[in-house]
Symmetry: none
Subunit: 237 residues, 2 copies
DNA sequence: CCCTCGACCTGTAAG
DNA sequence: ACTTACAGGTCGAGG
């Protein structure tokens, strides 16, 4: 259905995820517009491991925003999401009432750039190497994302549909940004800032925001993956 | 019945007082456990001047806490309570349905330790010298607090069968604190911190929290006090 | 408009 | 390691 690059607020202490209004109203209509409206509802979404996550979904009049509240912070913590990472919302092709949530690392997060940890106390080393992520479980992508069986389609889009996994890219750093070529695509990455918790919100704009390449990272290597899994691991520099 | 050292939240903008669960369930049972349960109820309590205060008392499912809500902020304002101060809840010895509310200054509040003001913007000068408080009005203390007609019973004063629980230890650390001897008792007090508004929550543990010595500060010096008033003023070290 | 209030929520620290 | 208590928050309704 859609995805969102997480802002610092989305992963911070506010314990809520703002759903972009356009998607919210399109995919998660609230109340129906007549009677039982904005009391909020409970969304149940399956993650890459089949686990069900329940989120309270509601509309905040004060900010005119649609948000996930209860349950969200647990998800963030469990998946170790950071600003710049991406969450995905998908619907089952056959059973439309079955919803899925997934995620992937932002290009600048996820184990590279050791000094790039958002928020203090993040150097827990939990991001090293292993990238958990959405596995597209029971979902065959090619309907919801008809043409996106490519990596970085907006730039290039290599065509392989299967596991190109672990193409860890060097992503080398120099001063602060460095261009690396990944799948034949030039990318910019911030590397090692001087010290501070640079708000990764600043860096979000540099990431290709709403593109729908599917760079999934397997959560359990032995997951019962059926076919269409695309995953990629970018390498610690 | 019991008392509580007020936290910043208890006197802040949340407009509620959390009643420790053990006391709440012991003294203010809600709902009776069968039918009309946790709809909350209205508590009427007399203060030191005989004035009646009404508070809404209820249970918050979400946080599993018992709270006073409506009416509480008025009380805080009226008595000029601050974090570290103590509120007391008592029951009439003869007429058990008659409830009383009282309070006293925390040892670190109330006009001493000028640098020790909790929360920002607290230096309103309202606390200078005069200590308002519970006067034990119609209440003869010696039942509810049988042997505690002493100061600092937790340090001295004998082992009454009742409320000696939570003998919070001085727990003071080093550099910022100073030991002073007062009424023959060694006490540690924070002196002149380096700068910050030390959250008085941090200081709560240093106050003898739930001990039941009766250090009442007369509200009106000319109040029709009967007998059992103990008051104490600590000096700025 | 601001404040109170009611209901909900969460991180943390104890036990 | 789990559970609980609760301090410190949120939003939204209502006055």
């Amino acid at each position: 259905m859609f995805e969102k690059v997480l802002t610092p607020s989305d992963v911070g202490k506010l314990n809520r995820l703002v759903i972009p209004k356009q998607y919210a109203e399109k995919y998660f209509p609230l109340g129906g517009g007549d009677s039982a409206e904005s009391k909020g509802l409970l969304l149940s979404l399956e993650d890459e491991s089949g686990m069900c996550w329940r989120f309270r979904y509601s509309y905040w009049n004060s900010s005119q925003s649609y948000v996930l509240t209860k349950g969200w912070s647990r998800y963030v913590k469990d998946k170790r999401l950071d600003a710049g990472d991406v969450v995905l919302f998908q619907r089952h092709r056959i059973q439309p009432n079955r919803l899925f949530i997934g995620w992937r690392r932002g290009y600048l997060n996820g184990g590279f750039t050791v000094s790039e940890h958002v928020g203090k106390g993040d150097m827990n080393g939990n991001k090293n190497g292993v990238q958990l992520g959405w596995t597209t479980g029971f979902y065959s992508e090619h309907r919801s994302y008809p043409i996106h069986h490519r990596h970085f389609p907006y730039l290039h889009a290599g065509g392989g549909s299967q596991q190109d996994q672990k193409q860890r890219t060097p992503m080398r750093n120099s001063s602060n940004f460095r261009v690396l070529r990944l799948f034949g695509v030039n990318m910019e990455c911030q590397t090692q800032n001087d010290s501070e918790t640079l708000s990764s919100y600043n860096m979000s704009p540099s990431t290709p925001s709403t593109t729908t390449h599917h760079l999934y990272h397997l959560s359990q290597p032995s997951y019962s993956s059926t076919s269409n899994h695309h995953y990629l691991n970018m390498l610690q520099m």
